[in-house]
Symmetry: C2
Subunit: 140 residues, 2 copies
Amino acid sequence: MISESKYGAVSIALWAKTALISKHLDNSLGAIHGIGLTEYMVLRSLMRAPDHVLRRIDIADALERTASGITRMLMPMEKIGLVQKELNERDARVSLVRITRAGEELFENASATLNAKSETLLKNVDGKKLDVFLDLLGAI
Amino acid sequence: MISESKYGAVSIALWAKTALISKHLDNSLGAIHGIGLTEYMVLRSLMRAPDHVLRRIDIADALERTASGITRMLMPMEKIGLVQKELNERDARVSLVRITRAGEELFENASATLNAKSETLLKNVDGKKLDVFLDLLGAI
DNA sequence: CCTATATACTTGCAAGATCAAGTACAAGAT
DNA sequence: ATCTTGTACTTGATCTTGCAAGTATATAGG
């Protein structure tokens, strides 16, 4: 009987708890704002980017997704006007993604929802230990 | 501009880091043992269950998955002999799942792989802080 | 220049997972 | 006894995502 190492236990706990949390967040964002957690993360990446513009490949890297996944995810987001395509004059291969004003507004509202829901989900974690938590996660 | 609360930041960090970790673990388990992380978790749940038997619905709850997902996931696992179906004489609705000897052996080997890979992925986390990490995750 | 290699996507196909609807059975209320 | 409600699955349609292959463009070397 191979016992589970502490490292393995942490991996598994992360996996299990994150599955729980992301499902709740996804449902809340979907019900209230019509976007999923992944789409929220796209908007977040864009909001944090200089000039609010990113290449598709940058989004893929930031979200640990493939380029094809990003291509397909952006289609409906572009259709409902959260982001818009833009050309790069230096490099004709790249198709830049810019967040629109509507996208910014939705992001702000969705952030409020996400923050509130997160507080509910993490209410059993001592507020003082959040920094420790963030430190540990940052070390990964 | 709504700033991100610390609770929101923790949720997002969990989501991002876990995506990274589970992808690596999934690839390792898949390449070496031919099962994914979710299948590993099924075997783990069974190993921890009294008598090594569970109802499908229990597995679904433990893994934060739907019953239909479990039904479909178990089909190939049963075909390659990792688990086997069993009837419940008390309640004809339930279809019990039992881990086989082959499943137990694969689980032990896969556990070793998972522990080793986890240690690599989490090597930047101070070993002494693993207990703190587990505590924080347990509080969720 | 021109060719070879690398990069940034896009698209077809397959796998995994959910939802909704349906089946079978159980258990409590009338 | 029967009826209603709830539980434990199973199945069909659909969505999301990744991988592999293809296209277009850039960059470096000869």
